[in-house]
Symmetry: D2
Amino acid sequence: MKYASGRHFLQIPGPTNVPDRILRAMDHAVIDHRGPAFGELGLKVLDEIKTIFKTQQNVVIYPSSGSGAWEAALSNTLSPRDKVLMVETGQFAALWVQMAKRLGLDPEVIVSDWRHGADADVIESRLSEDQTHSIKAVCIVHNETSTGCVSDIAAVRAAIDRADHPALLMVDTISSLASIDFRMDEWRVDVTIAGSQKGLMLPPGLAFNGISDKALAASKQAKLPRSYWHWGEQLASNKQGYFPYTPATTLLYGLHEAIAMLHEEGLENVFLRHKRHGNATRAAVDAWGLELVCLDPSAYSDTLTAVVMPQGTSADHFRRVTLEAFDMSLGTGLGRLADKIFRIGHLGYFNDLMLAGTLVGIEMGLARAGVAYQRGGVQAAIDYLAATH
Amino acid sequence: MKYASGRHFLQIPGPTNVPDRILRAMDHAVIDHRGPAFGELGLKVLDEIKTIFKTQQNVVIYPSSGSGAWEAALSNTLSPRDKVLMVETGQFAALWVQMAKRLGLDPEVIVSDWRHGADADVIESRLSEDQTHSIKAVCIVHNETSTGCVSDIAAVRAAIDRADHPALLMVDTISSLASIDFRMDEWRVDVTIAGSQKGLMLPPGLAFNGISDKALAASKQAKLPRSYWHWGEQLASNKQGYFPYTPATTLLYGLHEAIAMLHEEGLENVFLRHKRHGNATRAAVDAWGLELVCLDPSAYSDTLTAVVMPQGTSADHFRRVTLEAFDMSLGTGLGRLADKIFRIGHLGYFNDLMLAGTLVGIEMGLARAGVAYQRGGVQAAIDYLAATH
Amino acid sequence: MKYASGRHFLQIPGPTNVPDRILRAMDHAVIDHRGPAFGELGLKVLDEIKTIFKTQQNVVIYPSSGSGAWEAALSNTLSPRDKVLMVETGQFAALWVQMAKRLGLDPEVIVSDWRHGADADVIESRLSEDQTHSIKAVCIVHNETSTGCVSDIAAVRAAIDRADHPALLMVDTISSLASIDFRMDEWRVDVTIAGSQKGLMLPPGLAFNGISDKALAASKQAKLPRSYWHWGEQLASNKQGYFPYTPATTLLYGLHEAIAMLHEEGLENVFLRHKRHGNATRAAVDAWGLELVCLDPSAYSDTLTAVVMPQGTSADHFRRVTLEAFDMSLGTGLGRLADKIFRIGHLGYFNDLMLAGTLVGIEMGLARAGVAYQRGGVQAAIDYLAATH
Amino acid sequence: MKYASGRHFLQIPGPTNVPDRILRAMDHAVIDHRGPAFGELGLKVLDEIKTIFKTQQNVVIYPSSGSGAWEAALSNTLSPRDKVLMVETGQFAALWVQMAKRLGLDPEVIVSDWRHGADADVIESRLSEDQTHSIKAVCIVHNETSTGCVSDIAAVRAAIDRADHPALLMVDTISSLASIDFRMDEWRVDVTIAGSQKGLMLPPGLAFNGISDKALAASKQAKLPRSYWHWGEQLASNKQGYFPYTPATTLLYGLHEAIAMLHEEGLENVFLRHKRHGNATRAAVDAWGLELVCLDPSAYSDTLTAVVMPQGTSADHFRRVTLEAFDMSLGTGLGRLADKIFRIGHLGYFNDLMLAGTLVGIEMGLARAGVAYQRGGVQAAIDYLAATH
């Protein structure tokens, strides 16, 4: 690739900018994954990661991308042809549905317009109808990375409870964990799916399953074939801080550092920071006269903002122009939103001035790509940020 | 862990010592995995890696540990209850058998004494009996990491041919690739299993499948459920240098550097270097009066040496003493060999003086742990190394 | 120090932001400074650095900060009580005068208001008066880092020529080299002083003397005591790529990478980039209604902008507020300008979006610190940057 | 340079192998050298470094190589034509004498055979003769890096005291500090000269002066010109943790880490480790039938061993062969010892197995270069190391 001066702005909604501290923590010799020093490290990260999931139950870690954690969640708890209730809030939810089909499950899909979070009432109603409890799991994407809409997990939990339904609740937190508040135990989430490359500020390569005791019990009966993803083997090895196969050691070094950084800042402060940056970004989009993909203000995502391009304008042209002229990567529209929207990542290791550079890049990119917009988005964000510091 | 001066000697048979050049190549910001710079990188590594497999066919790369590549091999090509012929040459082969069972296959296992490579004649005879071609695949571990015995893949290929059997040939090269000669196309291997953390000198976290056209054709008919490991999706995305889900970007940076280093040294020189270090290590073991696990000189591994402890002596005690006194990690005995043997890794980024330090550490560790041995192993290795430079 | 999320903005006028590529190039084992690999490296960097100085003559490299290179320039070419003509354009020029006195020289100082570059006419007139050629050197700071005023070296050269005076011309390019055009040979500069930590994008720790043949001849007669800075020893060792004492090896690795990056971008493109960022910054300052320190538009610096605070407002208070609220470091006022001005560094490894973040940080900092200013500076810069890309 | 597999063995007597922890600590963004975070760092390292010098007085730090610290010591305390008593124990001492001459001092040199440390009796006798106290300083190299002979500083101190002479005691500890016990305050050393690249395990680039109050008082009267090296400016800035000019920030990051590591191991343990490795190395040399440069067992250096080549054998040929065949750098003979001796560095970040690799490399190199030697050096070292762990 051609050399360009200055730092690239990686403003896709993940992978996010990896802090130097984490890169440096990872930049170390590999150690014996069966030796005592590794066991210490393993115990530490397996314990520490629970604080991020807000759980006292179990979390397992795979060398894998986030979609592996989807597969682990399904294959450990379900049996061939099991019915699962899935809400298609966007492209990632749709891919999870596709995976469920491939694994031999029978997903029942609640469709959406890809511009809202999951509707808890619809879930409640569908579960209430399911008198035989044929639905074994409810699968929700917490923060739909393709649309910037958040689903209210507490509300989904309440809906399941109201329906008095025993289905497992599985939640994909890939682009919300460690950025938007998530409470595994309080919301009684049974399987939490997560990845390393967003709020955890790591490179991609680790995936996680938070596992409730109820999910663990279910896994003992589940009949889907599984080996690599087998929770039982993970949990058995994890007891002494080890893993059933060679773990991604250097990413675990980084994970330890990442969790330390999150606690240094304070997890609640991390959430507030993301909220403030979400608000500032939306103020800019509003001032530019552009439309958000997300139509429900209560569902606005604080980790990314998806923006609808004016009719007849190519989002990918705008993104390419912005990349070439200002060395910033923005997220592309996925699936049915391809070329119609662009996505701004404002999560992870981030601050006011990085956001400022990001928004200036967008404003200059809009001008340069000939997109119809109104000047002043950056100024609106500045005003918001200055007022709320 | 307690600080100790000087460099740790990581002499397990993998993960191996990661060169600084590779650590530095990985120590860089993550880039947009859907952007043009990534596409360039992806095309490059996907093409370059073929030279290491000695194939013109396809290689796919997963964010995963090596055992994931076992699962990918099986689940892409086979259907529930398919019969597979597996040779249990040691612990890793045994784990692969266990995985096959978990995935719903029907492995037929040729047992061994764990002190030899796979017996091609037995394979031929078993395949010849299989007139209905119920056996769908033959699964062999090239270099059995738990024993230090190499199986002769060319001979296995010839055995299959003599039996005129259509079974797929699957070979685990996790601890041989890029260290011991392996020729995927010449030997008509159908699926090659590999990992990043041994001869490729990378940290753990990437796994590979080399895929023959025959295996690819088989995958179109195979009925085992699969999603994360799905070859079809990988190959479709790979065409433009991309991946179907977020790849482990920083490990791919490292892979590019690793392949460059292997070619700078010359792949055949890499094999010769490993052979020479294997010989030197065996000369030392012989001089110490200790016994190799591997009983067949033609099957001696050039990447690791497994050594039998004198009767009544704990291998793990010796390893612990050596670690504490000399800051060197040696491989433990696995499965039925636990505490009875230790394993010396001499593969990857390695040279004469690192081997010298390793052997001195063992000789001093033997003394310190009170193991019965004869002095002179190091001297024997020095003499061999000096004579053969 | 307290952890804060996101990247620090280091916008002092040097040390500048070190690119990851350079940090990684430096992050390598030290090699034998008397071995063949070092000799190769030494020859390479000693040769390459000349392209940056635009000279065919000699450049020597010291493990030292920039002020060491001032001392090297003076002590190699002059004798006790020699008269030198120095133009005090700001704090750094003043420090150089102080050094000359300490070394036993007799500096004659042309004072300025610290708001202009050196006046070539005054230099010419003073040299013309010096019929006995008692003045041995003319010392000019090319880009005065304390004020953001550039002195026109070509004009100074012409002035010396018109006066037909044999004095050596010594130029401090510490904050201009590799950022603002400088032509050692074309302008017949006799000694060029430079440092690693500005346009060369390295950490501090290396200092440079570009040496004309005329200066070299003078050094043979010069009587000031010198040892560490002795050019003769440097040049003798440099012939084979070595140094007379242990060089700062890792910084030399970085220097090699830095020069490669400058040539990848193209040196003239580097100058244009700095000019554009200087213009954009000045557009912002103008829109804020603030005053530049530099009063001569033809002398505006493209590497830093010094801004006068409104009467009665503390520049250091503003800087502290900006650092605490937005994690950005700005340059302090030096010497007589202390607390009256602040300085914005926009040099080195830098681009439009980093500048955008910088200017937004200043605008928000001004608001937060209660400084009287007009909104719109960032918008003015955006408009300029977008129009001139 | 040509790529070779495995880690280079850098066994010159400095620069030494830099630990990854230190490289990683240095591999970070530069910060504002006038900002609060820097002030904190500065105060910390300026305070911590005193524990390594074993002083409660002052230590100043220069961006410079070690020879700069020689110049700082002389130029801060002495006046033109001052007499200094210097003991030429080897090449480095000789270079220091040369520097003193260049700076305009009048060194009186006690010559040696380059095979012993400084003779305290000769010093005493010379000082006793100096009734007028015309000798202003006694200059000693603690550990002469060119010969591997240590001078007994406590004995020199006692000699000065017995002569009741007011001369300052200046000691070069470049290759002893943090490896061989040195006690600045207890031995009343007035100026301690040190560098970063040996026992401090850093890359070259920092130099140090430990300054006694007596030396500081002397500096107020001293008349040698000085500016870059001026203690007064350093000490004034150091009070708040800052430096009078741009410091080598990244090396200071590394220094902080280095001191932490030395204290984690325990400074006295560090000395014992060096002593044990010195003994083991000498056991090997003895078994090879080779001769040490150092003729006085009480003066044997624990940081390096200089070995005399058999008559008629080129040391540099042997070193070149060893470098090419085994990728190990050994120290060359310097000055009058050129090509007659080689030097083995065994200091800094080092351990038993690194020493083992080093000695094996020498034994194989001797064989390969056709040097007359007896086998068994490595075995002798092993026996010593195993017996003394």
